[in-house]
């Protein structure tokens, strides 16, 4: 079912005369869109309404209990009517230079995005659209300056049309010529279900566990707030006299339900995962069980790749791969940050190879030796850990002094736990520091709980920022950061020796720093 050219626009009359010479006429989104909406509306409105009526009939509240049914029908009818209008009012086309879209029933909007600014194309098929063979297409332009940029979203078009748009929107001469390896097309990675073994070990498990319990409670409130509150109070009264038994049990419940939730989410997100290099100079990620997603990134937008290893998964030898690409903003803006992730949690060896493959770089890009940072960097971190432990202990002492119920020895416990813990963290943070300069890439590593190793293309470095705090100046350290148009915008070698850090920067981008440096 391909999208037919719309012969005449419902609000604007026939397409402009220029359309005859234009390479493509206006197109409509798929008429099946309305049916996909009907599926969603049935699920979120009609089914609950029927359930509610059933409950009301059960408690004998008829005939008023029948009211939800006509109400649901009217509501669905109204929404469907506006969806039909929206469908009729939406049209789009891809000309030689631009993606154009007109939409809006009451307030008309016309958007026109130059194709050369389209950086990522996202094809998503939620389950209700997939059964009808539909998908939504989102083109992101990610204009500079940190803004998320413009999004143009078409929901829904047929799967064939989605594929045509994906190729068409990113198919440009500049993308082909600049791509690192046109001959190296094909699959870079495909899902190994064994990778899901990492999901129950994610740092998100406790959060998800608490969330699952919260979700169970809100399910209870379906039967009435008072009833749910009664259950909560009963649990509380049961638990209070048996804390020694209940606390470990509760922790276990949280962890187990969190592990189940984490695994389910991971499977939903990464099922059918494939990462491939397409012939049109794009990297393409396909994944998703219920909602099938496809994200395409132009390789010319790629400035590097990043390995992310979070505790405790790092202890089990796992890491994930992310892209450092322009038009994909850094950590701060959730949706684009999520899009830059190119893989699920992988065994570290697989992740190392994949990240190197993504950059079409030698396989040892992420496995080579990284230069350690000076001992002064270790001293700074350990000292910070000691200070933090001292502050925590002082706080515990003050608490024990102010609140008679808190025993004096609790401060000693705090000190005994905090000092080794924080010093251990400091040592780990120091061991996480490293840098290396390779023929095509600058590799920087940092972090303890979230350890990130980034390989930046040296050609993608668009400036330098050297920072020194008073403490760093005293011990001869500096933080040398490479600025780039991609990802977080700044990737830094933290606490390097000033002289070798400046030399690193001068060598990484030949010529740029030469006029401004002198022999130390």
């Amino acid at each position: 079912m391909s999208a037919r050219p719309a012969p005449a626009h419902p609000l604007r009359g026939p397409a402009p005369a220029g359309a005859a010479t234009a390479p493509e006429a206006w197109r409509r989104i798929s008429p099946l869109t309305v049916w996909a909406d009907l599926i969603v509306l049935t699920a979120v409105i009609a089914v609950p309404a029927v359930l509610l009526t059933g409950v009301l009939a059960f408690v004998g509240a008829l005939p008023w209990g029948l009211l939800p049914l006509p109400a649901a029908v009217v509501l669905i009818g109204l929404i469907m009517a506006t969806e039909v209008l929206r469908y009729r009012a939406t049209r789009y086309r891809v000309t030689a230079e631009r993606l154009e879209m007109e939409s809006g029933v009451l307030a008309r909007s016309a958007r026109s995005v130059p194709l050369e600014r389209v950086r990522t194309v996202d094809v998503t098929a939620p389950i209700w659209a997939r059964v009808l063979g539909l998908c939504s297409v989102t083109a992101a332009t990610g204009s500079g300056g940190g803004a998320a940029g413009d999004l143009v979203q078409l929901s829904y078009v047929t799967a064939d049309e989605g594929e045509r748009l994906r190729v068409r929107l990113l198919d440009r001469a500049d993308a082909r010529s600049g791509g690192p390896a046109t001959e190296g097309g094909g699959e870079l990675a495909a899902l190994d279900p064994a990778w899901f073994r990492y999901a129950p070990l994610s740092h998100l498990v406790p959060v998800l566990g608490v969330g699952a319990i919260g979700g169970a409670y809100s399910l209870l409130t379906w039967f009435g707030d008072q009833w749910a509150a009664g259950v909560a109070v009963a649990v509380y009264e049961y638990a209070l006299p048996r804390l020694a038994l209940v606390l470990p049990g509760a922790a276990l419940v949280v962890l187990v339900s969190g592990a189940v939730a984490a695994t389910a989410l991971q499977v939903e997100a990464w099922w059918n995962y494939r990462l491939s290099r397409e012939d049109d100079g794009t990297l393409r990620v396909r994944r998703g069980l219920l909602t099938a997603k496809s994200l395409s990134v132009q390789e010319t937008r790629l400035r590097g790749a990043e390995l992310r290893a979070y505790l405790p998964l790092r202890w089990f030898g796992s890491a994930r791969v992310a892209a450092v690409a322009t038009g994909m903003v850094g950590e701060d803006s959730g949706s684009t940050a999520a899009k830059s992730v190119l893989s699920p949690d992988l065994p570290a060896g697989v992740a190392h190879r994949l990240a190197a493959d993504v950059l079409a770089a030698p396989a040892d890009l992420f496995t080579g030796h990284l230069a350690a940072h000076p001992r002064a960097a270790l001293r700074r971190r350990v000292l910070r850990g000691v200070w933090a432990a001292a502050a925590l202990t002082a706080g515990a002492v003050a608490l024990a002094w102010a609140v008679p119920a808190v025993p004096g020895w609790s401060a000693a416990v705090v000190a005994a736990v905090a000092l080794p813990g924080l010093v251990g963290y400091a040592v780990g943070a120091y061991r996480g520091l490293g840098h290396a300069l390779l023929p095509g890439h600058l590799v920087l590593r940092r972090g303890m709980a979230a350890r990130r190793t980034v390989a930046l293309q040296r050609e993608g470095i668009i400036g330098w920022r050297v920072r020194r705090s008073p403490f760093q100046r005293r011990v001869g350290l500096a933080t040398v950061g490479a600025t780039t148009a991609a990802g977080a915008g700044l990737y830094a070698a933290v606490d390097v020796d000033l002289a070798s850090g400046v030399a690193l920067a001068a060598d990484a981008v030949p010529g740029l720093l030469d006029p401004f440096v002198e022999a130390a």
């Binding site: 330098w464 920072r467 600025t483 148009a485 991609a486 000033l498 030399a503 740029l512 006029p515 440096v517």
Partner: protein
């Protein structure tokens, strides 16, 4: 690394008047910050308040004066020391190929951006800068790491510099990413 190197300071200082500007900027904050609690602690004000019963050693008033003293002292210290310190650190240089700046006082920062990667060049002047005939030149690149900024330039010099930078960056090709 192969050869130990260090960054030499950029060639040019900012205008000497920038010291006066930074001092004025600090005082503009510090004087009201100190004057407010001091004024609240004045006997006349205290007397106007119904609860101010005690004589000179009313504890609330002592605290207010102490706060005024601390705020005023710290403000004066910053106003006396930091602007001169900044003047020693803040420097800039523009070559055919790149812009090079240094700034800060306790925390110091050196930035380099190649001419070919510059996206926009702006000059800006607040009311206080205008009073001293100063301007800031802001140079943005495609990076989210923020712009390079040269504060406290003589106004005419800043305009000339911005013109020169604009001309050089227009000559460069590409989208600077």
């Amino acid at each position: 690394m192969s050869r130990p190197l260090r960054l030499r300071p950029p060639r040019h200082r900012v205008a000497r008047r920038a010291i006066t500007w930074w001092t004025a900027r600090t005082l503009l904050l510090a004087v009201p910050a100190a004057a407010l609690p001091a004024a609240a602690g004045l006997p006349a004000v205290a007397a106007a308040l119904p609860s101010a019963a005690g004589p000179v050693l009313d504890p609330a008033r002592v605290w207010l004066w102490a706060a005024a003293g601390v705020l005023g002292g710290v403000g004066l210290l910053i106003a006396a020391v930091v602007p001169v310190w900044r003047y020693r650190v803040h420097r800039w240089e523009v070559t055919e190929a790149a812009v090079y700046t240094s700034s800060g006082w306790l925390w110091q920062e050196w930035r380099v951006a190649p001419m070919s990667r510059i996206q926009t060049v702006d000059t800006g002047r607040g009311p206080l800068q205008r009073l001293f005939g100063l301007s800031s030149v802001t140079v943005t690149t495609a990076s989210a790491a923020g712009p390079l900024s040269i504060d406290g330039l003589d106004h005419r010099r800043a305009t000339a510099l911005a013109d020169r930078l604009t001309a050089s960056t227009e000559a460069a090709k590409g989208d600077a990413t």
